[in-house]
Symmetry: C2
Subunit: 154 residues, 2 copies
């Protein structure tokens, strides 16, 4: 029996996007990965409006993605650091970057090169942790906990 | 010499987010990965406002992520299919889902289980395509084409 649900799907993608699914939020995280931890640097290197960046950083701190640390008292200055949850966003950032490099460059050179500590330019691949194979959507069967059936991707 | 740039960074992450960096756009892509290819299904399963979903689907089609195909003439009906560029967003979706499963469940069960064709529940890992090792931000050195130096992540 197939149950037709009329409700939006309960979904970890959707929940993640409530926190980081907005351009300026994810670009703020990108800047911290690039070592720019101060508010003014983040605004300058993302192009975000200051009040938008303020709001996004509040959300990211409240969600436990970034930590706000005092770095001086007079004048009061703060910097933002990635928590473990923030560091674990690296695959998201890398996947977005690679996708943009592949599809949105219009014959330009990629604006950023990532070099892995093995010495090679990073080409990140998503693998199955059990069998080690590359993960393709067509090789993955999604099953909602609700038990609804999802047809194979064709 | 360090050059202080006052301009927003030219960046493939930012460009990708111009296309898919909005909650409803990425959730529309999620639905097509789950086999829901009709507008009404996407609206129902994402909870997006209809006019927002219309706008996002137009952007995704114009960017070459989705293809809009007629499936009947009377009445005129369409469905959305993933292009190769769309299929290549799978690592982004999986990375977001795993991050949400790890950090945003509040002791619930994950709402969706992905089973890889090897028979195991999918735990996707991001590896370096050269050495095969797992990719950690601390093992990657980013170099902008502009030549500006970026300090190591600490």
């Amino acid at each position: 029996m197939t149950t037709i649900s009329t409700a939006p799907r309960t979904c970890s993608v959707a929940r993640s996007l409530e926190i980081i699914g907005e351009k300026w939020a994810l670009l703020a995280v990108r800047e911290v990965f690039l070592g720019n931890r101060r508010f003014d640097e983040m605004v300058r290197r993302t192009g975000a409006p200051r009040d938008t960046m303020t709001a996004r950083l509040k959300t990211l701190v409240a969600a436990g993605v970034l930590e706000r640390r005092p770095v001086s008292e007079h004048p009061p200055r703060f910097e933002y650091r990635l928590t473990q949850a923030g560091l674990d966003l690296y695959p998201v950032i890398v996947a977005l970057m690679q996708w943009g490099d592949r599809y949105l460059l219009n014959d330009e050179e990629p604006p950023m090169v990532l070099t892995h500590h093995c010495g090679h330019e990073l080409g990140a691949v998503t693998n199955c942790s059990s069998c080690g194979e590359a993960v393709l959507a067509s090789d993955v069967r999604p099953t909602p906990r609700s038990g609804a059936l999802i047809p194979p991707l064709d």
